[in-house]
């Protein structure tokens, strides 16, 4: 249903105001010192509802945040139930998941695409009661990338700096003042409906707009303008190369040992990954009452697969590294029809040991089987 509209940059504050007035929490990349994080617009220093300070808080020139946006649907920890013990009696009370209508604004296409992977995992047999309500109330206003860095590899995993999938609306800054807004889904159309006057017809749809576009580049359509500003991210491998090769490489222990020698076995890659979904469920009890919670876990940890018997099927880091690669590039595509990687590069930027996922996968794609 993709429709093209033009949104003026100066209209963003008004748009945020409309979104907030409609009951949404708006999260956008906000700069805090050296860091850019997805945080609630208007909740920071300025306080209150989005206002004049909003535009200055938001950093729409960011390359990537340190943490992914998955916390909106998959928080780092989440309480599931409360329980109380009285003699032989145990009473449990479920804690309803908190699902607020949320607009994620300014998410890059890689991150927008990650929600499809999250969704595939959390709904593959029975729907996850904590994930689904949050996703249902989430609207994504994506932002095309006009720049990348050495860690970006979206184009190797089916994405692209201007890819629309995953976004409800995708914005592309076609010049200093305007965004091309591609309305991709019904949720996106609902955003437009809140402030239709802010979304002008795009070039090619009406004569006045064609004339405005012509001032930038004669005869160029909005799509041309978009293509001209997108970042150039050269593909480094193709997922299809891996599908057949990885299962054949599985028994080649030396390959995995060699790749993971410098891995120190922390959970940073998994925790900053927008598609990693593993969690641990634990009861925290204080004598007669407690809470059951789930929190992020990582296949990089030695305890991840440790059995109660003491046996650990993945006792070594090399086996855990293999699992990480296989899961993302072989098991998930095979079983769920989605890749477990969107090429955002966070794992590689954050890795304390400079494990570089794209380099490693590129090497695997070229390793003879």
């Amino acid at each position: 249903m993709s429709q093209q509209r033009i949104l003026e940059k100066k209209s963003l504050d008004e748009l945020f105001g409309k979104l907030t007035a409609a009951g949404n929490r708006v999260l956008a990349p906000l700069r805090n010192g050296q860091r850019v994080e997805f945080a609630e617009v208007g909740a920071g220093q300025g306080g209150g509802s989005p206002g004049r300070d909003t535009a200055s808080q938001i950093d729409l020139d960011y390359i990537q945040t340190a943490r992914p946006a998955k916390e909106v649907v998959f928080p780092r920890y989440e309480h599931m139930l409360r329980y109380r013990l009285a003699g032989k009696d145990a009473q449990a009370e479920e804690i309803a998941p908190e699902a607020r209508p949320t607009v994620l604004f300014g998410l890059h296409p890689c991150d927008a695409a990650s929600f499809a992977t999250l969704n595939a995992v959390f709904t593959w047999d029975s729907p996850d009661a904590y994930f689904e309500p949050k996703l249902a109330k989430l609207t994504i206003v994506g932002l095309s990338c006009t720049q990348g860095d050495a860690y970006c590899f979206c184009t190797s995993v089916g994405g692209g700096p201007g890819a629309t999938h995953g976004s409800d609306i995708l914005l592309t800054p076609i010049d200093g003042k305007r965004y091309l807004a591609e309305i991709v889904t019904e949720k996106g159309a609902a955003v437009v409906a809140l402030a239709p006057h802010l979304f002008a017809p795009a070039n090619g749809e009406s004569e006045p707009e064609r004339q405005r576009g012509a001032t930038t580049e004669p005869g160029a359509t909005a799509t041309d303008l978009k293509e001209a500003v997108l970042a150039q991210i050269a593909p480094r491998f193709a997922p299809e190369q891996l599908g057949q090769r990885l299962p054949a490489l599985f028994p080649r222990n030396g390959v995995w040992v060699e790749q993971s020698l410098r891995c120190i076995g922390c959970g940073a890659c998994a925790y900053v990954c927008p598609t990693c979904t593993c969690f641990d469920i634990q009861d925290e009890r204080q004598r007669y009452a407690g809470v059951r919670l789930r929190c992020w876990d990582s296949c990089g940890f030695g305890l991840f697969t440790l059995h109660a018997s003491g046996h650990n099927p993945r006792a070594k880091q090399s086996e855990r590294w293999r699992q990480r690669v296989m899961h993302k590039f072989s098991y998930q595509p095979e079983r769920l029809g989605v890749l477990g990687c969107v090429g955002c590069g966070r794992c590689s930027r954050s890795c304390p040991a400079d494990m570089n996922l794209a380099q490693h996968v590129e090497a695997l794609a070229q390793t003879p089987t």
């Binding site: 410098r262 922390c266 998994a270 925790y271 304390p352």
Partner: protein
């Protein structure tokens, strides 16, 4: 750098060591990464510059690395200190690793703990002026301001345990956060869980930390964990004269009793 490569080649060709654990160029010019050179022909991968910060001693416990055979380890002074502290804690045998200190274009072979002690004795001890200023600024904050600072820092912790993994003195097979019967440390990375984890780790390292800074470098959230450790190191130094990692004498502050230990903190 040439001297280092030359040394690595000679050590591998002569069979003195099976692997040289050093630094190679990383994903971008600001980063170096660990490299495990086993073939003299690969020694040219080794680099030495200011990006070579990671404490490589953390790899000595890794089964896949142990399997490579006797290592030479390219070491900064802090790395050497972590080797000695591991020795104090019976985690490393003498002559199990050949340390290579690089300074002024020269490579010094330090094959024994005694050689490392001697080398470190010649190195500057104590905090840099910049580190000292930073601690003074922190100490000058009011209780409320300091609490606000640490709440904001530790609030970002996602409990990925990169600090622990990067630390050559965090060698426990099973860390206290992984014990859940009983559950000592809250598992959630909420305010309490983050505070407990980071404070417990800092306390556990008090008098043992050699201030290599790898924990803070490793943190994907950029939390200044090194400051916590540095403050406690200063406490241990002031209260007990503890300067870990300069000797293999077994007297680390929080585990050794001395009749003349100060006791002003017990009230």
């Amino acid at each position: 750098m040439d001297a280092l490569r030359e040394k690595a080649r000679a050590l591998l060709e002569g069979g003195t060591v099976k692997v040289v654990i050093g630094y190679a160029g990383g994903s971008d010019p600001q980063r170096a990464r660990a490299v495990f050179v086993r073939d003299a022909a690969q020694a040219d991968q080794l680099i030495w510059n200011e990006t070579c910060r990671q404490n490589l001693a953390t790899y000595l416990n890794k089964p896949e690395v142990k399997a490579l055979g006797k290592p030479a380890l390219v070491a900064r002074p802090a790395t050497l200190r972590s080797l000695l502290q591991n020795a104090v804690e019976s985690q490393l045998a003498d002559e199990a690793v050949l340390a290579l200190a690089v300074a002024d274009g020269q490579v010094v072979e330090l094959p024994t703990f005694a050689a490392i002690e001697e080398y470190l004795a010649q190195q500057p001890h104590g905090l840099t002026a910049e580190q000292q200023q930073e601690l003074s600024r922190l100490a000058a904050l009011s209780l409320e301001e300091r609490w606000a600072f640490w709440s904001a820092e530790l609030g970002r912790c996602i409990k990925c345990f990169a600090c622990r993994a990067a630390c050559p003195l965090c060698y426990c097979d099973r860390c206290i956060v992984e014990v859940n019967q009983p559950q000592w440390i809250p598992v959630a990375s909420d305010a309490l869980g983050n505070l407990e984890w980071n404070v417990v780790r800092a306390m556990h390292l008090a008098g043992r930390c050699v201030d290599c800074g790898s924990c803070a470098d490793a943190c994907p959230e950029g939390i200044r964990i090194d400051l916590l450790n540095r403050v406690l190191a200063q406490e241990a130094l002031g209260s007990f004269g503890a300067e870990p990692g300069y000797s293999t004498r077994k007297d680390y502050a929080l585990a050794a009793y001395k009749p003349d230990d100060k006791e002003e903190f017990i009230r």
